[in-house]
């Protein structure tokens, strides 16, 4: 089994008026160090799936395994990044980055050194005392990632982390964040509805149907390109083929 495993996860939301079946029997395996991207139309249940893995909601049925054991919450091996950077405007960049340590009461010397290392390594040293409103959207998303990495999670969950950025910034930031994640060797599960973005980042893509989300198809992404990064990926000869395959896969469901 893999690093992170979902077994037959289903989720139904209940309100007084309706019940909404959102996830239908989802089973996923993510291996150590792998970058897996879930692609699915908006509203199909992608965020719900990540929330279940993070332990924010309990699935109606099915289970989540980490290192082959049923995961117990709160789990400090999982880091979560959102579409919006959710930086705290009233805290400095440094205070934002160490927020998780503060909440976990783990502001030890080792951890602070680790945080400072990351800050230095990823070019945030000179912004430590800035406030989030003074940074650009791309920079803020980088801070959000470092804030997650400071807690040294084994698995990263990324929920459409670039979709709030404009196109140009999105390409640059996804490149940057991909490199950081690879350098830190994290196992990653990302969701997006942007096919090109998915191909440019993923080792493997899982296509979800519209709500209730079912797994439709999986694609191993093999690009014949050296020193693969999200930006260079887009020049790979196979890029368009994957795009068309996934496009067709998604298209079927909207009919």
């Amino acid at each position: 089994m893999g690093k992170l495993t979902l077994c037959n996860v289903s989720m139904t939301y209940h309100t007084l008026h309706t019940e909404t079946k959102t996830l239908d029997d989802i089973s996923i395996k993510v291996d150590e160090g792998e970058f897996v991207v879930l692609v699915g139309p908006s509203g199909c249940g992608k965020s719900t799936l990540l929330s279940i893995i993070a332990g924010l909601i309990t699935p109606t049925s099915g289970s989540v395994y980490l290192d082959n054991k049923i995961i117990s919450y709160p789990c400090n091996k999982i880091g979560y990044m959102f579409q919006k950077d959710t930086l705290f405007e009233w805290r400095s960049i440094y205070k934002n980055i160490t927020l998780g340590l503060e909440i976990r009461r783990e502001l030890t010397k080792d951890n602070i050194d680790f945080a400072n290392n990351l800050i230095e390594k990823y070019g945030l040293s000179s912004f430590k005392n800035y406030y989030p409103s003074q940074l650009s959207g791309g920079m803020r998303q980088r801070v959000a990632l470092i804030r997650t990495l400071v807690l040294n999670p084994e698995i990263l969950l990324l929920d459409e982390p670039f979709s709030a950025l404009d196109y140009h910034t999105r390409l640059l930031v996804s490149d940057e964040i991909y490199k950081i994640i690879k350098a830190e060797g994290k196992t990653t599960l990302m969701v997006t509805h942007d096919i090109a973005e998915a191909i440019s980042l993923a080792d493997r893509i899982i296509v979800l149907s519209s709500r209730p989300a079912k797994i439709k198809k999986e694609f191993n992404i093999n690009l014949s390109i050296e020193n693969r990064t999200p930006l260079t990926s887009r020049n790979a000869p196979e890029f368009k083929d994957y795009f068309n395959l996934i496009w067709k896969e998604l298209d079927k469901y909207d009919k």
């Binding site: 993070a54 709160p74 909440i103």
Partner: protein, 265 residues
């Protein structure tokens, strides 16, 4: 590169704005002078009855007379203290109740209709009952002031609490935060601007509460001076009290605004 020497157009633009601002200030002062002057003149010429509307020179005389007798400062002080205690305690107690309601969604839901009714009720109407309960004195005045701002505070602070971005709460939950940590790290700091603007509203409400309270029970305070002046047909005293009241209310409001602008950028 930053251009340090502003261009000619920019300098012209600045001086235009400045001239306009000076003009606005001048007009404001002018209105005040004209108003006071016509008041004095029409009263002296008996165009208006000085007994009914008083007159500026007499108000000034009354001011010095009351200052010499040593009571005016005391009356002003009493009213100020009552107001300050009123709006600060209203804000603090209201915020504490809002925290309890935020912590327990159940209590919140149970109390919701009561809050709506209490909010709609003109709290001044409770004045006589409160006096009956707390007795004829300063505590009653303060409690009236507090009652007026309490419900509004609870409602607006709670609205601030519920306005927090869900994702921020989710984020700290993934850090393992419990409900008190969510309150401490996310909800309270996020709502600080809302709490401070409530404070600002409460200053105004508290003045109303205190003056009405003094009308009803006081033996000192500006509200008392107003009622007393009316009873003994001393319109100068009434007018003077009102003028002092508006100046102090303005100063207090300005101070709270200053605090507000420090926290809300």
């Amino acid at each position: 590169m930053i251009n340090n020497t502003p261009s000619k157009e920019h300098l012209e633009y600045i001086s235009k704005i400045k001239r306009r601002n000076t003009l606005i200030t001048l007009c404001r002062i002018l209105i005040l002078i004209i108003f006071i002057a016509q008041w004095e003149i029409t009263a002296r010429l008996n165009i208006v009855d000085p007994f009914l509307v008083s007159q500026p020179s007499k108000i000034v005389t009354t001011f010095f007379k009351l200052m010499q007798e040593g009571h005016l400062l005391r009356h002003t002080y009493v009213t100020c203290i009552e107001t300050i205690i009123g709006f600060i305690s209203g804000t603090i107690i209201g915020t504490l109740i809002a925290i309890i309601l935020w912590l327990s969604d159940f209590i919140n839901k149970v109390l919701e209709p009561y809050l709506v009714v209490l909010n709609a009720l003109p709290k001044i109407a409770l004045g006589p009952i409160l006096i009956f309960w707390v007795g004829n004195g300063q505590p009653a005045i303060i409690i009236i002031a507090l009652t007026i701002s309490l419900i509004v505070t609870i409602i607006s602070v709670l609205t601030g609490f519920n306005d927090v971005d869900e994702d921020m709460i989710k984020l700290v939950k993934t850090f393992g935060a419990n409900k008190y940590q969510i309150l401490k790290y996310v909800v309270l700091p996020h709502s600080l601007p809302a709490i401070i603007s409530t404070l600002k509203i409460n200053v105004g409400l508290s003045w109303v509460g205190v003056i009405v309270g003094e009308f009803l029970v006081a033996k000192e305070g500006l509200g008392f001076l107003i009622v007393f002046g009316g009873q003994v047909a001393q319109l100068d005293m009434v007018m003077l009290s009102i003028i002092i009241l508006s100046i102090i209310a303005y100063i207090m409001y300005a101070i709270v605004s200053k605090i507000e602008s420090k926290y809300i950028k």
